[in-house]
């Protein structure tokens, strides 16, 4: 019967041996529809076949963890009987094809993952990577940036979830493959967490939301293949987001979850109906039988194959208790949604798809979900590592440096460091009136209404570091995210991660991946921050050119007393400026080398996890004791940029400091040594702060005072850099917006 040849397999992104595996699992040749179903469920995106063996090494348990990896999102206990549900997910490939819709539907997808857990989403963040805004690809990149930012804004603003933070970096390695990673966090009563499982034989299975079209068919398989000129044809109809529909789904589902009529729910994300039916069945240890002819359809003449594989947005699959149908339908009707009964839960553990009664697919859920291939792919250490590790020290000779002031201004104007106001001003970051730290002022901080607490969230990752040293780069990413929430006064309690890498079938890439995951695991254990979930995005390559390996880590921190929240900016003149941590003058992999010398090389900053842990303890204890006026993590651009940024958005509070020289002047000012922060404290609190630092073994040095109208930096007593705060802030504030002035929307 089957006309399945290698060409067909190729189109489905299936290898010959994977096909044989399918035949074994079924005990027969699959039908075309079944092949389609296997192809998406066994795609890299859905099956994690290349990453699974490594992800197992991540610590996923802890006293606060209520839900680890495996459900639609993870959850941690935040006290007061509440849970924070959060996850990060990538939408890289769709955003490259259609920036606005790709980014918008990415936001839509992660929001669904959160409210399917029963949580009310209260915060969004995003981590973005683009090519350089200048140069040959500059024009295209600027279009992509405008589209992605507008898409994130268009979706989040409309549905009314504040986008409270995130980060953006620009580097040529992302020119042909931008990264769009979106994070969402929601709050739910800990005892009301909803699972995505189908149980209870005879319980009805409902479809609700947008109608099914031919959108994104094979989106999942596409997200698992590199781009090349041919992928143009492979392109599925682009998915268009409908935030209003999602808003209706969000409210209706949360209303339904207040009743006990719901058994389980899952959004139809990647691999749509196929993924939701089989995963829910597998989780519930049961089967699901649906009739595709009952599925609401937007287009005519859709085949079962197309209906099962469609990735139309804003659709949910629900299993409800038998006998409660009327009640459930009424709730959706209130929101002008029509829940359609498309099938039922069965005992036999089989995903059975019928079309007007005739069976078109019959597959054991376990075959799709658990028996998916798992690969321990070959790994080899990339040879480039040795070349980049060597750094021509002579460029660091002070004689060859531009003036420190020029270097600082160049860094402040670098899009990666410059103010992102042009971006976050387009995001509604205040809706729901929980936002305690306004966008751009540090980690995203939202209060938890009805409790005295707040949550701080930061997403971070440095592709350059990870390129130079995958293991260390991933550790530094987790450390920076944790440090950022600590700077807001929050104790890190959980993390999620999005691992953006190249083609895992290349041993060098697989090596980077394995190293990064191990580093991440070590850092999580040392800082005692469990991973509750995440997402893996592989094949981030264009024409064989891989992006920098880029793990993005989202860390969630808890602030017991929301009134103790700390932000980046100085609060008043006359406060003491203190630098926490040790300066090692490390320039390897720094923004300085890249921006000022056009060099990407050297070793990324060392990371001593005990020191990082101590710094985090100090920051959070000092904050809760009310000792901190401001706190700012030291990262891209080093201490000079960190000090300057602490003076920005203060309506003119300058600063004068004297720093100890470490190795070179450039290293002192622009080195990116880890585990450091710049804080300001009231003079009367300096003693207490220093005592606490001593107690916790954190190097702390009072380096100067806030005040005046300039940024003045001395090194070992010698004046090294002095500039007008207004001039510096002006450069930093307008650098990014300049690229987009007067372009058509």
């Amino acid at each position: 019967m089957t006309d399945i040849d290698l060409a067909v397999l190729e189109r489905h992104g299936l290898k010959r041996d994977e096909y044989d595996r399918i035949v074994r699992a079924l005990g027969r040749e699959p039908t075309m529809t079944e092949l389609g179903i296997f192809s998406v469920m066994w795609s890299e995106h859905c099956s994690y076949k290349s990453s699974r063996v490594h992800l197992r090494k991540l610590p996923t348990t802890g006293t606060r963890v209520l839900q680890g990896p495996g459900e639609n999102a993870g959850a941690v206990d935040v006290g007061h009987g509440l849970a924070a549900v959060f996850k990060i997910e990538s939408h890289n490939h769709p955003s490259f094809i259609e920036p606005y819709q790709g980014a918008a539907t990415g936001v839509g997808g992660i929001i669904r993952d959160i409210f399917t857990m029963g949580a009310r989403p209260i915060a969004l963040l995003n981590s973005l990577r683009f090519g350089s805004l200048d140069g040959p690809e500059g024009a295209r990149t600027r279009r992509i940036v405008e589209g992605v930012v507008a898409g994130i804004a268009g979706y989040g603003n409309s549905i009314g979830i504040p986008t409270v933070g995130g980060e953006i970096a620009f580097d040529d390695s992302y020119a042909g493959n931008p990264l769009v990673n979106v994070f969402c966090l929601g709050i739910v009563r800990a005892d009301a967490l909803v699972k995505g499982s189908a149980a209870g034989t005879g319980n009805p299975v409902y479809y609700v939301g947008a109608k099914t079209g031919r959108d994104g068919i094979h989106g999942a398989t596409m997200a698992s293949a590199e781009f090349d000129e041919k992928s143009a044809e492979k392109r599925p109809a682009v998915q268009v987001g409908d935030p209003f529909m999602e808003k209706l789904l969000l409210e209706a589902c949360l209303e339904l979850m207040k009743t006990d009529a719901l058994v389980g729910v899952q959004d139809m994300g990647a691999a749509g109906l196929t993924c939701s039916t089989s995963e829910m069945g597998a989780r519930g240890g049961s089967g699901i039988e649906i009739d595709v002819s009952l599925v609401p359809q937007r287009e005519t003449g859709m085949t079962p194959y197309e209906i099962m594989l469609s990735e139309s947005q804003e659709r949910m699959l629900l299993v409800v208790k038998k006998g409660r149908e009327a009640e459930v339908e009424a709730i959706f009707e209130k929101w002008d949604l029509h829940a359609v009964h498309i099938g039922d839960v069965t005992t036999d553990g089989i995903l059975r798809v019928t079309e007007r009664g005739t069976v078109v697919a019959e597959i054991p859920n376990t075959a799709l979900v658990d028996q998916a291939p798992v690969y321990d792919r070959p790994r080899t250490r990339p040879s480039y590592l040795d070349q980049v590790a060597r750094l021509d020290e002579s460029i660091l000779a002070d004689s060859r440096q531009p003036s420190s002031k020029d270097a600082l201004f160049a860094l402040l104007a670098s899009p990666t460091i410059a103010s992102k106001r042009w971006v976050y001003r387009q995001y509604d970051h205040m809706v729901r009136t929980n936002t305690l730290v306004l966008a751009g002022m540090g980690a995203g901080v939202v209060r938890i209404k009805g409790t005295p607490s707040a949550l701080a969230i930061s997403t971070d990752g440095n592709g350059r570091y990870t390129y130079l040293n995958p293991r260390l780069g991933a550790m530094l990413a987790l450390a920076e995210a944790a440090r950022n929430v600590a700077c807001a006064g929050a104790v890190p309690i959980g993390a999620t991660n999005c691992l953006n890498f190249g083609n895992p079938e290349r041993p060098e890439i697989m090596w980077q991946f394995a190293e990064a995951v191990e580093g991440l695991g070590d850092a999580c254990r040392a800082l005692d921050v469990p991973i509750t979930g995440g997402n893996v995005s592989l094949y981030n390559e264009t024409d064989g050119q891989a992006i920098y390996p880029t793990p993005i880590i989202g860390v969630v921190g808890l602030i017991e007393d929301a009134s103790r929240v700390v932000a980046r900016a100085f609060r008043q003149a006359g406060d003491e400026v203190v630098v926490l941590g040790e300066h090692l003058g490390e320039l390897g992999g720094s923004e300085y080398l890249s921006v000022v010398h056009g060099v990407v090389g050297g070793a990324p900053p060392r990371l001593d996890l005990d020191r990082e842990r101590a710094l985090i303890a100090l920051l959070t204890r000092a904050a809760s004791a009310g000792l901190l006026q401001s706190a700012h993590d030291c990262s891209d651009g080093g201490i000079a940029v960190t000090i300057a940024e602490s003076a920005f958005d203060t309506s003119g509070i300058g600063v004068a400091v004297d720093l100890p020289r470490s190795i070179s002047t450039a290293g002192t000012l622009f080195g990116e040594s880890a585990s450091r922060a710049v804080i300001s404290v009231k003079p009367e609190h300096l003693g207490k702060l220093m005592a606490l630092a001593g107690e916790l073994g954190v190097p702390a040095a009072r380096v100067g005072r806030t005040g005046g109208s300039s940024i003045a930096i001395r090194v070992d007593g010698r004046s090294e850099l002095e500039c007008s705060l207004a001039e510096a802030e002006n450069i930093w504030s307008n650098a990014l917006g300049k690229y987009f002035a007067g372009r058509a929307a």
């Binding site: 259609e98 819709q101 959108d215 002008d336």
Partner: protein, 79 residues
């Protein structure tokens, strides 16, 4: 010389705007209204002399700026 450019979503692409309008009209009792699709409409004043030149120019502009080829197609009229 005036060129009018009509940009519409490709038929296969979902049009939430049109859908919402259709739903609203139905709830307002307009049962006779079926499918609704929303597009963009541009009027360009062109200095170019001939109708053909105008059409070519408009097409170029549509390709470059007015329409997004990934999800939209366009039609041009010159008067």
């Amino acid at each position: 010389m005036k060129a009018r450019v009509f940009v519409t979503l490709k038929p296969s692409v979902f049009d939430p705007q049109g859908q919402t309008i259709a739903d609203a009209l139905h709830s307002m009792g307009y049962g006779d209204v079926g499918d609704v699709r929303q597009g963009k409409y541009f009027e360009l004043e062109l200095k170019s002399g001939s109708a053909d030149r105008a059409k070519t120019l408009a097409a170029e502009v549509a390709d470059k700026l007015l329409a997004n080829p990934v999800i939209e197609s366009y039609r041009i009229e010159v008067e």
